[in-house]
């Protein structure tokens, strides 16, 4: 059964409609990626799923419940977590406080200690920088913190918008490896990526979004070989 399902969603900003009937299905404990060109509507999709924007039509189902109109802060309580585009850290607060804030939802509050251990094992750099203001971290460290803060939320479904943007290839590899580890630990992941090749390489399943509509979907291994995907998104 799909743990998260987006059915025929339409959404946008005020008068401007961006999504025109897109869909998405996340299988439990799998890594799914959502790719597409700039401005295709990927971020809009995630914001709509989280409840930061209200859908114009269509429905969103999480663990068998219709959550289309549930506000963002309640979604976090349910275990639906977004690592937003541009990181959106609490720049004036310390690294530790950012992690603490990540664990604000009702599910995560009791598990701060366990999850803290988890993220410090995954990103030892953050432990070294615990008391530093998040705004003064390097770009890569900030991205680690954004992901770590997401993990602190004890997600059932973790959605990450642009994991690799602006990061050195070594770090991208390391972050992708940690995503796989998280999936193997039982977290369902939705990854939005510019880096289509790498995203498809580590994902189980993939969706291609184009001009606000779901264009192609399939097992990631097949999409990588798909002629249209190769021409349009991989530049091959």
């Amino acid at each position: 059964m799909a743990i998260l399902e987006v059915r025929d969603i339409a959404s946008g900003y005020g008068e401007v409609q961006i999504l025109w009937g897109a869909h998405l299905k996340l299988e439990e404990k799998k890594l799914t990626c959502l790719v597409g060109g700039n401005g295709a509507g990927k971020t809009t999709m995630l914001r709509t799923v989280m409840g930061l924007i209200k859908p114009l039509s269509g429905t969103i189902w999480f663990e068998g419940k219709d959550v289309s109109r549930v506000p963002a802060y309640t979604k976090a309580d349910m275990g639906l977590v977004l690592v937003p585009e541009g990181r959106q850290l609490f720049t004036d607060m310390s690294v530790y406080e950012n992690l603490e804030m990540g664990a604000s939802n009702k599910r995560a509050r009791g598990k701060v200690k366990d999850n803290l251990e988890k993220v410090y094992t995954m990103f030892p750099r953050l432990l070294e920088r615990q008391t530093q203001k998040a705004g003064t971290l390097s770009g890569g460290e900030q991205q680690m913190l954004a992901v770590a803060r997401g993990i602190m939320a004890d997600p059932i479904v973790l959605m990450i918008d642009e994991l690799s943007l602006g990061l050195a290839p070594v770090l991208v590899l390391q972050l992708f490896e940690s995503l796989r580890a998280l999936r193997d630990a039982g977290i369902t992941i939705l990854l939005v990526e510019q880096n289509v090749h790498m995203a498809l390489a580590i994902s189980d399943y993939g969706y291609v979004l184009s001009e606000g509509r779901s264009e192609i979907e399939g097992p990631a291994r097949q999409l990588i070989k798909d002629k249209h995907v190769r021409e349009a998104y991989l530049g091959l």
Binding site: E97, S104, N105
Partner: protein, 287 residues
Amino acid sequence: MNAGAILTSLVDGLLIGVVYGIAAMGLNLIWGVMRVINLAHGALISLGMFGVYLLFSGLGLNPYLALVLVALMGLLMGILIYAIAITRVINAPYLSTLLATFSINMIVIGLGTAAFTTTPRDTGFSLGNVEVGPLTLQGTRLIAALVTLIVTAILYTFLYRTRTGKYIRAVSNNRSAAELMGIPSSRILALSFGIGTMLAAIAGGLIATFFSFTILSGDVYQQKSFIIGVLGGLGNPLGALVGGLILGVLEGVLPLAMPNTWVPVIEFVLFILILLVKPSGLLGGKK
């Protein structure tokens, strides 16, 4: 003029400056957390004055016990104001929030004038004078400064050490990210407005223990709060305290050298100069 008199003016200025600081802190907190300039701040300070006055003169309550009640009422009132009015315009452009808080100001002052007229009131409360070496200080001012320092320490501990306090800082820093973390941001904003109002009420209540006042008196302290905000940097509670001290000292010492009526002129010139030279405030703070 002897050295004792100068020293007394200076220390008096410091004591009152601390109280200005707490008034400014209220304005500051609301601006820092939700980017609302609260034009009802002065009216709420006046209500704090009347609260202590009525509980003391009417019911015979000790003014400092009255202050605790006034603080609680301020907190509740602020939350109520947020829930009724501010929440409707919180995402609108600045002009809307300015108009909303200005309307609240007009309502409070209108009702207050009808109920209490504008005849000056005085609690007539006194704790006598305290002599320290060459200094003669009013007991009520000493206590007021002490209360303010305690409230500041509590506020700081609350904002930096407690979960809810950190939520306030998180919402202030990045509201939509806070929402994503599961923090109900509108409730946090309401609480912040409540705390800002509470600080205004405490400032008013303390001032009422040593100055006479009318329902319009709060306005002066609102203006001072703006100057202090610029001195200390908006969005920074400790900066407000320091800004208050600077202003207090100026008000203590300047009248020794020039007529009293010149003091506000100097203050506002300072205000404009700092805005021109360093808009983020003398002590930094948020842009």
